[in-house]
Amino acid sequence: MSEPGREAGCVRFFCTAGSGMEPFLTEELRRKLEAEDVTQLSGKVLFSSSVRIHSVVELKAAERLFLLLKHESPLQLSSLSSSAKAAAELKSRLLGDRKQWSSAALTWSRLQGELSQGRGAAANTSSTPRGRRKEEGRGSEEQMEEEKYCDGKSGKSGKREGEQREEERESRGLRGGEEQEEAQTLEKKRKREMSCGVEELILEKRIKRKNHEEADEKERQDEDDEEERRMISSRGSVQSGSRKEKDRAEDGSVENMEHVKPAGEEDQKPAPLSRIRPDITSSVTFRISCKCTGSVSRLFSSQEVSRVMGVGLSRMMNWKVDLKNPQLEVNVYLSDDLCLLGIPLSRLPLAHRSYMKTTGLRSTVAWAMTSLAQIQPGSCVVDPMCGVGTILIEAAQEHRAAWFLGVDIDDRQLQKANENIEFAELRTRIQLLKASSMALPLPSGSVDALICDLPFGRKFGTKTNMAANLPVIVAEMERVLRVGGALVLLLSPQLSFLLKKLLSPKDPTPPPGSEVCPCPPLSSTEQQTVSTQPGVKPSPPQERDTQTGPQPPPPPSSLKHHTTLRVSLGAIDGLIHKYVKVDV
């Protein structure tokens, strides 16, 4: 069951996360969503939260978001004698009872409603204190319905309790006070209640409208709704066990009715969602996706599990299986450590950002790096090898009052970065510059935070080798950073090793850039004092002076190591290093 927590309004979710990202996600959950009961597993984090769903889908460190259906101890099937028994055990463990599924479907529907409701609207915080999701959910349910039929405008607005919702669209599920009470009741009930009164009216209207709509599902739904309506009108009685109507029992929606305005528009185009609350229990189409590892997979393949469950579920709930385009998708994870069922809340993973046009580094990892950089309002943050600007954009989305500079040597990358910035509408806060990271045209100590994803490959720039240039690059970074500023780097394991050698205390040599000519040579006239290796790219003065010998002088770095974390970048792993500049 969707473990709606003991208190109403709290929904249990889980997110998948890339390897190494789990701690970031946990921290983000606590900080942004005040999540409770956070359980961190390998690759997944479970949590409960009662904030608006819109905040939940804004999570940056997560891959995908699911509504938790079941979280149980791992299945012990190997001890069973026959595969038939095992299949039976599987079914009974995983399927559970109808209520769980109905309520999960309801919750899911509701959340979907809230989500699409709020899509256009600004996220306004619920005026009513609760802001409980549930509460909103309820409203959204109504909305959902409305949406189904029409744009869900008007009409539903009345929330019970006179909580006036603004136009559906706008209100985004703000439901006020009434919800609170509702909250006490079962989720379903709540949903019902809200929708009850309003729905009735609305539905009726809608029904009329519907007829104009061509959407099949609408019609279907309409019918269902109609039925429900009738049921509801009796108010006060629970009906059709399998339908949510039960929930309608609660009254209280009466007030809402008053608020219900005729859904004026007919513009009801088919609701964006095909989720239907009311008939979700009756005409849901679903599909099961299963991932099996460990001992369970020896007995059953993922497909077999999906099949067994699919058949069982469809029988139990009377839902239909639709492999191509189901309304509801159920994800099952079975391993030796856990048994987890969830319903994804969106088709696209959260990691897919709506504001990014061309990605370079994974957005989740980029965000994780920015979370380490200690960015404050007013900070000046630089990425000396910004590429297409992924890190800067993630950072700018998160920190609205900071200023960002991206530097890259490659025109094409800068071009894409420019497009990305335009796309994300961050033009005013992110500046681009074409320059070499080995000669940053910035004064020393002028940057508050420096975040960089260093190219892993051997190719750096056009000809030179990354590893060979690492000392110079790091030195420049160190130079422009101010004392107290953070340096966050993403490196391949090999480069990480080099970096460590570079920055660990060794024989003292003049600290790079801290005394001599603070800025990189910009024009020949200025740099007579600087040394020269004209053949090489510009480099910080004194370093080059001393660095005539074969071994690069290890600068007694003013960079103090803070953390190193390993994250998965898909096919390979990377290491995130954080350093803070201290006074030397």
Partner: protein
């Protein structure tokens, strides 16, 4: 955004801006952001840059104290800082005279090998 005041260039600071194409955008005013940026600017550099672009407007010659509260002032800074954008032009080092071209809003500050 005029950046020359935030990032400097060697002793060659501030860079002079010579623009051949300037665009003025409309940007949402965020007073907190602007007031946080101000301490990072070298005021005279900003003035000079804005003037060079013909967009000095009425930026005062000196930074007023308590600018955080002065919304009018912040708005002026906001305009110069965030709304005026140099699309084409160049940045010139006051000391060496070396010019760095700005193309499509992005300055190119790569040094050639001899200049290293």
């Amino acid at each position: 955004m005029l950046t020359s005041h935030v990032k400097g260039v060697t002793k060659g600071y501030p860079l002079l801006i010579k623009a051949t194409e300037v665009k003025v955008n409309e940007v949402e005013f965020n007073p907190q952001f602007v007031s946080r940026m101000i301490p990072k600017l070298e005021w005279s550099a900003l003035l000079q840059a804005a003037e060079g672009l013909g967009h000095r407007q009425d930026l005062p010659a000196e930074l007023v104290s308590e600018y955080e509260k002065d919304e009018e002032f912040l708005k002026k800074v906001h305009r110069a800082l965030l709304e005026v954008e140099v699309i084409e032009g160049c940045l010139q080092c006051p000391e060496s005279g070396r010019e760095f071209p700005i193309s499509r809003g992005i300055p190119n500050m790569l040094l050639s090998e001899e200049e290293a």
